[in-house]
Structure formats: C-alpha cells, structure tokens
Symmetry: C2
Subunit: 389 residues, 2 copies
C-alpha cells in the first residue's frame, strides 16, 4: 500500500521523508473521528456545519480534508471516517476517495469511546493484525512532515504491542488541555523518541500548568492514539464490557445485509464516554501505553482566539479576515472577521474584536472572551433559538 | 387653520397649551428641510434611506413624521417639505396629508440656503405676509409642549419684523455645534423670553465651549429659523443675489405648467451654501435677528452615541436594542444594537459597543468612535463600495 504512496509524484511533497520501512506501517489504518459541533466557534461552526467542514486557516482546505491528506500520505486509501449521519453528504464531497465501507455513520453522537471502539472492531474483523491511528478531523497541524515522522514512530512502537499516543510539546501553560507525564525511554526500532507514559493528567489549574511546562516532563494530550486494534479492544473489553460487546456486534454485521439494522438497534444503547477513560488511562495504569513527543505545532482550533493565532493578520490593519468574498473596512481596529456573507463589514475603533458574520446569526466578541461563546450557545438553546444552532 | 387643530381631539395631547392667540400664528407656515444622508449613522442611514426616514428613538415614529406632528399642532396642514427627488415616495408614505404643492423635490442636494430660500420664495408668492418656520426633519425634541411654546414666541417675535432662531440651552460643552451669543432682552407681546442675537459663533474648541456654557450667555444653534418670508428673501437678495434670483424664478413658476422645466433648468446652477452664511449671520450683523431660548431637550442624532443617549437601555443587560424583530443575546456587554434584519445577534464581553446590522452592511464600533463613521463611509466611497452607501 505504502509503495503506491511514495511513488505517487503528487504526494512526493507530502512524504518527503521515506518512512516506508517503518515497522508495522503495512498494517496501518487511519481513523478520523469527525464528531463535535465546535460550539465555541458558533455561529460559524454549528450542528449543520461543524468545525471540521470549514477552512479555518485560510489554507483553501477544510480541516477534515487536510486531516485526510496528512494520513493518506502514510496510509494510502486505508482511511476510515466516523461521523454523524447528517454529515454524510458533506464528508463524501470533501473526501471523494473515501470507501463506502470506511464511512461509519453514527445515528447519534456517543462520544469517542464508541466511535473509536467501533472503528477498532470493524478493522479487527477485517484483519486482527491491523494497527489503527486515530486523529480528530478538526485539528490544525504543521509542518506535515514532522507529524508524519511522529506517526511513523508511533506505528513502530504500536507494532511492539503498545497503545501509543502522540503528545505535543507545550508552548504555553494551557489550562484547556489534559497533559501526559512522560516516563522512561523505550527501546524501539524505528522509534528513537518513544517513552513510557507515566500518567495521563486532567486539565490543570494555571499554576499547575506552569509547573508542568517548566518541568519539561509533560506533553499536551492531543487525543491521538496509534495502537493495535486488538489491544484497543482488549482494554475496552476490560473497562467497558457492554460498550465492547456492542461495537463488536455492530462490527460483525458490518458490510453484511444486517449492517443497517444492527447499527440502528445497538448504537443508541451504547454508553457515552471518552476513549481516554475507557481505554487510555486504564491501559496506562497497566503499563501498556507509550508516547511519542510531537515537535510539530498543533492547535485544536478551540475558539476564535485560536483562529486569530492560526491566521496572522496579513493586512496592515491588523484584522485577520476569513471568508470567500470578504469586503472588510477597518480603522483603528484589530482582531478577526469570519464572514459567510457578501456584506460590507466596517470595524472602527475596536481592538481584539471577533466578528463572525453568517446569514442568520452574528457574533461580536473579543479574543479574550472567545471561550464564553459556548455559554452564549447554551443560552440561545435555553431560549428556544435552536434554528441558528 | 389653527382652530381646526386645537379643536381636533386627537391633537389635544400635543397642544395642551392654547397658543391660538399668538400674534402672527395665523400667518405661520412650517417648513421641513429633509436633506442630508446622516453619514455618521451609516449603514442604517444612507442615501436611499436617510436618517429622517428612521425611528431612531424607539417612539414608533420616523423622525420626519414626529417633526411634522410637532409643527402640525401649530400650523395645521400648512407644512411644506423640501427633500430629494429620491425620497418622494417615502416622504409621501410618512406624510399622507402633505399637499402636492407643499412637496418640494430637489433634483440634487444644494445645502440649506437654496432649500429654505426656495420655500420662502414659494410661500412669498402665495402670500407675502407669511411667517415661515424652518425645522430640520431629523431632530429629536421633547417635551413637545415646550418646543411649541418656544415656536409660538418665535412667531410672535417674527411678526415684529425679525428673523428668529430658537437656541438650545446647552447641557454640556459640545464642540459639534455652533453657538449663539444672546444680546439684550426684547419687549415683544407674546414672547417674554425674546432676546437680540449678539452673534452667531462657529463650532468652538472644547475649552472655549466650556467658557460659553459657564457664562450662561450662549445657546446651541439648532438651525431653527422663524421669520417673515419677505425678510428672509430680503437678506438672501443682499448676500446671495444669484441664489435669490434663482429661487424666485422657480417660485414664480411653482404650481404652473412651467414648474418642472424651471426647476430642472435653474436648480442645478444654484450655489451650495448654508442658510447660516447666506442669511442668518449677515442678518444678525444688521441687527435683524432675535433668539428664543428653548428649554426643551434637543438632539440632532448626529451619531450612534446619540442613539445610545436617546434610548436608555431598558434591559438589565445594558444593551439598547433598536429594531423591529430583535433577537439579541448579550453577556458582559453594553452599548447599542440597531438591527434591520431578523438575525440572531450575540454580544459577549464588549463594552460600549455599537453594532448596526443591515442586510448588506454591518458596522461594529464603539460609542467613543461614533463620529468616525463618516470617515468609514468616505473610505468605502473611495474604494467603489457605493452599493452600500
């Protein structure tokens, strides 16, 4: 599979480093969970058009397309997407090469353990030796070569029988992410940076986050997991046996005439829980988790302040503009404008402003208050303004 | 005419004080110049929908309708409007009782001397004894009874052969208005507060404005003029003889088959100048101008900060909302939202913000920068964005 990738001249730019002799890479399968509305990016991101379907970096690509391309350079066409039924059309439009059997549609959202567990179970049924690599659809990563080198190390480490996470070297004491405490270095062929995971730790308070960063021992938990599907299922079976039984039942029906009926019957009853709790943390406690420190930049584009960070203002005005046909006038203003309309937008005397202009909803806030957008959405929901959510 | 007003039960509330024996009131004719786009209120106010066609106070009335009602209580149906050709339909819709011969349509804007001069000339042709009272269409005044009492005093004073302005007692050292220095008290029957005008003075610097206010001798020049049409024309003829000849030529054709041709031929050549320079200031120098101090509140709604002032926030949130169907959510925000759309607007963490939401243009600024909106409009014009101006 991989040789097809590295000899494809169109992909040469993406796979400048030859990773084709990475142990386990011939068994690698990319998985992209594409759930989550991205409430803090309302009204741009919303139920009908979640974050991963937007180009939030001005790259010309949606986030899910960029995620797919990053993985395809390593996995070829062996990529599976798990997303909501409502997004089937948009996802197929973004990823025309995605196979039908690799398009897993959730009848309702069930959090990451069910999504990743079902992917693992389906892949296990096809080939129990498969190594999966799960990467969320709505993250921004660069440079892509460094990411791919880290994934290759993770695959090589997973091939030794580990669940491997890729942790991000923290650039500031973020309080919005969980952290990974690194343990002893491992000796793995093809993975010179692999280490044991001593522990996963919850989102810290700011002073704790500062200690973490200062110590050099901690990495951000970016929710990236590379692991033998058998090991994922093993830990899921131990910690969430009902959830495990459910995804295995669906996986056994996958690709058979019973697929739709089984999915519709079993999925709604599955427990909502995160893969961190259901697999990663107990597996770490059992000594089964390793980590590759990723030196690439990583952003989960959690709010509009992130969009400002990821899109440095190119105009002298200090305004970052994201939109197809922006007509923005600004004077003594700075911040971010995201526009989904052809309206003229004039900003005067507003600093660090965030303006998100869509046909049916308008948000005006500041980068400082970007995290509060979630409460606004909750309030709108409480007031029955669901039409714009 | 007036008796018809004071006996109209619907107008009793407006004319609570019986002013019907005011000397000269039987010769009174209201004139409403309705020009000016109100650039500082863009994108609400614009060429196609200027300030006077909006309800900026949440009263349920447009500014021009409120202006008409204030005058009609004194002038009955003797009210003339001078406005742009483009606004004919909107003005007639607002003022269905306005007579055709009292609807003066300018083929192009020519500033106040031409507009008020033509009104004076037309009224002079009808009845040379007429006393006109000119009041801009886009001002907010209250209480209406105090305004009407001041106008009645102005009419009584004008009947003695004066051009009479109504000056506003300043409430703060405004630098955006011209001032009127009051002279000696006059003895006029029916006008106990009439005084000579010592001088009109230009918009002052702030320290000068403070001295003006502290002295108690100065009033704001609100551009209100009550005068015998013959005296207005007399001073116009002395100071702007060509402009005078032009408006007289149009006035002589008014109501005849030659009206349209004469207007189209003569108007475009008229000089653009303000009635202050063409009539009021030279007339004051000649000792022909009196002033009535108006104790009513007055606002020319010059910018969105004025809208905030005139519409105290009624909600605990601190946001003033103007619009037909507002759907505004706010958190830690204060300021003004003017909306012409049915969009949901969410404001988070923005203080003294001004958001003006129209179908094709959006303004985000602060009350502090409200005066800068004019530059934005000029810049948009320079960039060819005329479609939204």
């Amino acid at each position: 599979m991989l040789s097809g990738v590295t000899t494809d001249p169109e992909l040469d730019g993406l796979a400048a480093v030859d990773l084709s002799d990475t142990p386990g890479l011939d068994r690698f399968y990319g998985v992209i969970p594409a759930g989550g509305v991205g409430t803090r990016l309302w009204p741009l991101s919303r139920a009908a058009a979640p974050k991963f379907l937007h180009d939030l970096t001005g790259s010309g690509q949606t986030l899910i397309r960029a995620t797919y391309d990053r993985l395809a350079a390593l996995a070829g066409d062996r990529v599976m997407v798990v997303t909501g039924e409502a997004h089937e059309g948009a996802v197929r439009e973004q990823l025309p090469d995605l196979a039908s059997e690799d398009t897993v549609l959730e009848p309702e959202p069930k959090d990451s353990a069910a999504a990743i567990g079902l992917a693992a179970a389906i892949l296990f049924e096809r080939d129990p030796e498969t190594i999966m690599g799960s990467f969320a659809a709505d993250q921004v990563i660069g440079p892509v070569e460094e990411f791919q080198e880290a994934v290759a190390e993770a695959v090589a480490t997973a091939a030794t029988g580990k669940i491997v996470t890729i942790g991000i070297k923290p650039t500031h004491p973020a309080t919005g992410f969980g952290y990974i405490r690194q343990g002893e270095a491992l000796t793995v062929k093809g993975a010179p940076h692999a280490k044991d995971v001593a522990a996963f730790v919850e989102k810290p308070a700011e002073d704790v986050a500062k200690e973490y960063v200062a110590s050099g021992e901690y990495l951000w938990n970016a929710g990236m997991f590379v692991a033998p599907v058998s090991l994922m299922l093993h830990h899921l079976a131990i910690n969430e046996p009902e959830l495990h039984a459910g995804v295995v039942e669906i996986a056994k029906a996958w690709g058979t005439p019973a697929q739709a009926e089984t999915m519709a019957r079993v999925w709604p009853g599955l427990k909502k829980t995160a893969v961190d709790y259901a697999v990663a943390e107990p597996a770490a406690a059992a000594g089964d988790v390793a980590v590759i420190p990723g030196g690439f930049t990583w952003d989960d584009v959690g709010d509009f302040a992130a969009i400002a960070r990821l899109n440095p203002a190119k105009r002298a005005s200090g305004i970052t503009v994201i939109g197809e046909t922006p007509r923005v006038y600004s004077s003594k203003a700075s911040g971010v404008v995201v526009t989904d309309t052809a309206r003229v937008i004039a900003l005067i005397g507003v600093e660090d402003i965030v303006v998100v202009d869509t046909p049916d909803a308008l948000l005006v806030t500041t980068t400082e208050h970007a995290q509060s957008v979630k409460q606004a959405v909750e309030s709108l929901k409480a007031h029955g303004d669901d039409d714009v959510l």
